[in-house]
Amino acid sequence: MEGDVTVRVVFTDGLSHLYTDGKKEFEIQARNLRGVIKALDAQYPGLAEHLEEETTVAIDGEIHESGNYVQPVREGSEVFFIPKLEGG
C-alpha cells in the first residue's frame, strides 16, 4: 500500500517455536503496527490474536506495551515481539 515501508520483524525463540515454525525474522511492508500484524497474520493465520494478547512490541527499542495499532513504523525499523511486562 502507498506509504508502506520495509521493516524487520523479530520474534523470540519461544514465540517462533509456538507460532511460526521456528522462523524468527521477517521483512514486512507496512506503515504502522496494525499493518505489521496484519501482514504476519496473512502468513500465519491466527497469529494476530496471539501477538495482540501475549506480547509487548518494541519498535527500534521503544517499548509499546499495549501494541497500539496506530504506532507508526519507519523505513528499516526493527520490530521485536517480546513477552509482556509486569511490575510491582
Binding site: H17, D60, G61, K84
Partner: protein, 759 residues
C-alpha cells in the same frame, strides 16, 4: 555554578500532598473502614498443613450455629478451565487462581483457605470456623527450591509436565516452566576472557511487608449487581478477577477504591474479594472480610526465594566478554514466579555481547508468589552484582569504573531482544563516582559496596477524566489507586498543562464506573501512563476553553491561543480583548455549551527503563555478626521528577526494603512446613532505628516520549541494595556472603571460618 532555570512552574517542586491531612487526622478510609447497614463479619478457615488431600468438609455444625448467615467452600465457586492465558511473563491460569483463593482437592500450604463463614458477630464467625470439620490426609511437603527440583521430591501436582522444554518431559515434576534467553556465543565469549568468576547464591522469599492487611466489603444484590470496597493496587483488576472467579459480568460489578496502606506488588491480586462476594450472595447481606497479620504472612504472596548460579568473564582491561546465569525460583503453591524478569534484568545495565540466562519456575508448599517491587530483578541482581564485584577485584579495577566501562547505552543489544533505546544508566554511575562520600575513609570492620540495577518500567492502559467547575477549580479523576503520591503528581501535571495554580486542582481516584479502564498501580507506570492520560485530557479541555473564548469574543477559534492559564487573542488582528482566565470561561459554561469536562484514554508506550546505582557503607560487629548500615546513597534516573519529594520517597523506600531483604527478612518453617514467624515481631522488617538517613541523588535524563520527560521511579531502587550490602560486607570483613539474609548468625559463622579462604 549557574543553576539552569526550570522551564516549569510546578513540575519538579514538592507541594503539600492532597491526601496528607485525611491520613494524619484519621479521616482517610482504608480497606477495613467501610461498613453498610446489616454488615456481617466474615472469617476464613485455613489449612494447618503444608500439603494434604481434602477428603471431606463437613460444615453442618457451623451452619447450625445461631448467628451464622452463610458458609461456603470452593464448591460455591464455578470451576475454571485449565488453560494458561495471556502474555508469557504474566500468564495466568484461572484453574490455579480459583484454587489459591480456596482449596479444592488439596491444600498446598500452611494457611491455604479451605472454607469461610459470615455471621452477625466476629465472635460467632470465629466459633463457626472452629466447628467446620475437615478430614485431611497429610502428604509429604517440600519448601526449598533445590529440594523441590530433586528427583524424589513430593509432587504438588502429579500431572505437571514442565513447559518450555522440547521434547516435553514424560515424567511430572515440580518444575512448571523452563525459559532460556541467549545472545551472541556464550562459549566464545568466555574463551575471550582473561578472568572468569562464578558463584552460587541463594535468596529467601520475602514478604512485601505492607502495613495494611488485606480487607474488603462486598455487597451482592438480588438483581445480580454487586459492589465492592477494597484496598488494592488496581480496582479495575480486582473487578475483572472477582467477576471471573465468581461468575459475574463486568458491568454488574462496581469496585470502589480505598486508601491503601502499602502494596508493593502484593495487592495486584485478589484473595478475599471473591470470597466476600459469594458469602454476601449466600447471606443476602453485605459481608466484610479482613485478614489478620498472621493470615497475611501465611496466605498472601511473598516474592520468590531462589537458588542461582552466575558466571562472568572479562578481559584484563575490564571489558566483560560473557555473562551467564541459571536462576531457579520458587513460585509457591502454583506456577508463576518472576523468573523471566530475573533472566532479562540480571545483566541489563551492561553491554555484554554474549549472554545466556536460564530460568526455572518451581512450585513448592508455600503461598503463591505475588509481584514485589521490580519482580524478579532484585533477586538475580544479587547474584549478578555480587559476581561482578568479585570480578572487578580480580581485574584490579574500581567496581564503579568497571561498571561504567561496560555500561549499556542507546543501541546496546539486550538479552530480551530489542536494542536499548534510552540512556540513563551511565549517568547514575557518574553521580555516585562524583559523590564526596564515595572516596571517604572507613574505619575497622567497615566496608563500602556498590551495585547497580535495572527495571523495565511499565506503561499501558490508563484513563482520566477532567472537569472544570464553575469557580475555575478543576477535578482530575483517574483510576490509579494512589500509593506513591499519584494524586499530587497528577495535580502538578494538570496545573502545569492548564496553566493554573496547583491548589486549584483536586485530584481524585474514582471507582470503576466513573473513569475509563485503568491498569494497576504497579510496574512504575502511573506517573508515566496515567500522567499522559491526564495531560491529554487537559489538552482537550484547553481546546474546549479556546472554543468557548471564541464564542464569547465572537471570533474564529483559530484566533484564540491558550497561554499561562488564559485565553488570549492570537494576534492584534483578532481584536482588542482582555485575556479570559479559566475561571472566567468556566463561569460562562452554561452560555457557551454546557459543563466543561472530558475523558481521555491512552495505551501508553515508549516508556524508558529505570536505572539505579547505589553505594552502601557498613560496619560489622565481629562479636555479634550484626551489620549496621552507616550510609546509603541512591542515584536513580527519574527522567524528570514531577513531585521531587515523592521521587525521593520512592528511592528511600526501595533502599529500606532492600536493607530488610539483605539483613533480616526470612520465613521460618517448622518440620511440618508450618510458618513459625507470622508476625512483625519475628519477621524482622527494618524500623527507623535500624536505618541511616538514606541520601538520594535524582538523576534526570528526560524521556522524550513523555510531555514532561517522566520515567517510572517506583521499583528499580530496590534492585541493587542487597548486592551493595553484600559487597560492603565483603570489603569490611573479607567474607563473601552468598546467601540472604546476611543475618548475624550467618555472619558469625562466616567470620568463624575467616581463615578458610574467601572471596
Amino acid at each position: 555554578m549557574n543553576e539552569i532555570k526550570s522551564p516549569y512552574k510546578f513540575v519538579g517542586t514538592a507541594p503539600i500532598r492532597p491526601d496528607g491531612v485525611p491520613k494524619v487526622t484519621g479521616v482517610a478510609k482504608f480497606g477495613n473502614d467501610f461498613t453498610l447497614p446489616g454488615t456481617l463479619h466474615g472469617k476464613i478457615l485455613r489449612s494447618p498443613h503444608a500439603h494434604a488431600l481434602i477428603k471431606s468438609i463437613d460444615t453442618s455444625k457451623a451452619e447450625a450455629l445461631p448467628g451464622v448467615k452463610a458458609v461456603m467452600t470452593a464448591a460455591d465457586f464455578p470451576d475454571q478451565n485449565f488453560a494458561y492465558v495471556g502474555p508469557a511473563r504474566v500468564q495466568v491460569n484461572f484453574w490455579h487462581i480459583t484454587r489459591n483463593i480456596m482449596a479444592r482437592e488439596k491444600v498446598l500450604y500452611d494457611g491455604h483457605a479451605v472454607a469461610a463463614v459470615a455471621a452477625t458477630s466476629a465472635a460467632i464467625a470465629a466459633e463457626a470456623i472452629s466447628l467446620i470439620e475437615v478430614d485431611y490426609e497429610v502428604l509429604p511437603h517440600v519448601i526449598d527450591v533445590d529440594e523441590a527440583m530433586a528427583e524424589d521430591a513430593p509432587l504438588l501436582f502429579e500431572d505437571m509436565i514442565t513447559r518450555g522444554v522440547e521434547p516435553a518431559p514424560t515424567k511430572p515434576s515440580n518444575v512448571a516452566r523452563n525459559v532460556v534467553f541467549e545472545i551472541g556465543d556464550i562459549d566464545a565469549g568466555f574463551a575471550e576472557a582473561d578472568e572468569i568468576v562464578e558463584g552460587e547464591y541463594k535468596t529467601k522469599p520475602v514478604h512485601q511487608g505492607y502495613i495494611e492487611p488485606h480487607a474488603c466489603l462486598a455487597r451482592y444484590d438480588p438483581d445480580g449487581q454487586g459492589e465492592l470496597w477494597s484496598a488494592s493496587q488496581g480496582h479495575f483488576v480486582v473487578r475483572n478477577l472477582t467477576a471471573k472467579i465468581v461468575g459475574m459480568k463486568l458491568g454488574n460489578l462496581k469496585v470502589n477504591p480505598a486508601e491503601i496502606g502499602g502494596g508493593f506488588g502484593g495487592k495486584t491480586v485478589v484473595y478475599l474479594e471473591p470470597v466476600a462476594m459469594v458469602l454476601s450472595k449466600k447471606a443476602g447481606a453485605p459481608v466484610r472480610l479482613a485478614m489478620g497479620r498472621d493470615e497475611v504472612f501465611r496466605a498472601t504472596g511473598p516474592t520468590s526465594g531462589a537458588s542461582m548460579w552466575v558466571k562472568v568473564g572479562a578481559k584484563k582491561d575490564g571489558t566483560i566478554t560473557a555473562a551467564q546465569g541459571v536462576f531457579k525460583f520458587q513460585s509457591g503453591a502454583f506456577p508463576g514466579s518472576p523468573v523471566m524478569n530475573a533472566c532479562m534484568c540480571a545483566f541489563a545495565p551492561y553491554d555484554i555481547p554474549n549472554q545466556r540466562a536460564e530460568g526455572f519456575d518451581v512450585v513448592s508448599n508455600r503461598p503463591k508468589a505475588a509481584a514485589y517491587r521490580a519482580p524478579g530483578s532484585p533477586i538475580s541482581n544479587f547474584a549478578a552484582e555480587s559476581t561482578l564485584d568479585i570480578l572487578a577485584k580480580k581485574i584490579g579495577m574500581d567496581p564503579l569504573e568497571f561498571r561504567q566501562k561496560n555500561a549499556a547505552h542507546i543501541g546496546t543489544q539486550t538479552i530480551a531482544g530489542p536494542k536499548l533505546a534510552h540512556e540513563g544508566y551511565s549517568e547514575t554511575v557518574d553521580a555516585i563516582l562524583e559523590h564526596p562520600g564515595y572516596k571517604a575513609e572507613l574505619g575497622p570492620n567497615q566496608g563500602r559496596g556498590v551495585a547497580s540495577g535495572y527495571w523495565f518500567n511499565g506503561a499501558g492502559e490508563s484513563g482520566a477524566t477532567v472537569y472544570v467547575n464553575a469557580d475555575g477549580t478543576v477535578v482530575v479523576a483517574t483510576g490509579s489507586p494512589d500509593i506513591g503520591g499519584s494524586r499530587a503528581s497528577m495535580a502538578i501535571m494538570a496545573a502545569e498543562t492548564l496553566g493554573i495554580e496547583y491548589d486549584q486542582v483536586r485530584a481524585t481516584v474514582n471507582d470503576t464506573t466513573s473513569v475509563p479502564y485503568t491498569h494497576v498501580t504497579g510496574g512504575s507506570r502511573v506517573t508515566y501512563a496515567s500522567g499522559m492520560a491526564v495531560i491529554g485530557a487537559c489538552e482537550k479541555v484547553i481546546e474546549d476553553l479556546r472554543a468557548r473564548a471564541a464564542i464569547i469574543w465572537d471570533v474564529d477559534v483559530d484566533a484564540v491561543v491558550w497561554e499561562d492559564g488564559h485565553a488570549r487573542p492570537a494576534s492584534s488582528n483578532v481584536g482588542d480583548f482582555d485575556p479570559l482566565s479559566l475561571a472566567d470561561i468556566a463561569a460562562k459554561a452554561a452560555a457557551t455549551g454546557g459543563p466543561i469536562g472530558t475523558s481521555n484514554s491512552v495505551a501508553a508506550g515508549g516508556q524508558a527503563p529505570g536505572f539505579c546505582t547505589q553505594f552502601v557503607d557498613v560496619e560489622v560487629d565481629p562479636d555479634t555478626g550484626k551489620v549496621t548500615i552507616l550510609r546509603a546513597v541512591c542515584a536513580q534516573d527519574a527522567g524528570r521528577a514531577i513531585h521531587k519529594g515523592y521521587v525521593e520517597g520512592q528511592m528511600q523506600g526501595g533502599v529500606v526494603q532492600g536493607i530488610g531483604w539483605a539483613l533480616n527478612e526470612e520465613y521460618i518453617y517448622d518440620d511440618k512446613g508450618r510458618l513459625s514467624n507470622a508476625g512483625f515481631l519475628d519477621y524482622r522488617v527494618p524500623v527507623a532505628s535500624d536505618l541511616p538517613f538514606i541520601e538520594t541523588i535524582v538523576v534526570e535524563v528526560p524521556n522524550p516520549n513523555h510531555p514532561f520527560g517522566v520515567k517510572g521511579v517506583g521499583e528499580v531502587n530496590i534492585c541493587p541494595t542487597m548486592a551493595a550490602i553484600g559487597n560492603a560486607i565483603a570489603n569490611a570483613v573479607g567474607r563473601r556472603m552468598d546467601s540472604l539474609p546476611m543475618s548475624p548468625p550467618k555472619l558469625l559463622e562466616a567470620l568463624d571460618h575467616r581463615d578458610g579462604g574467601e572471596l
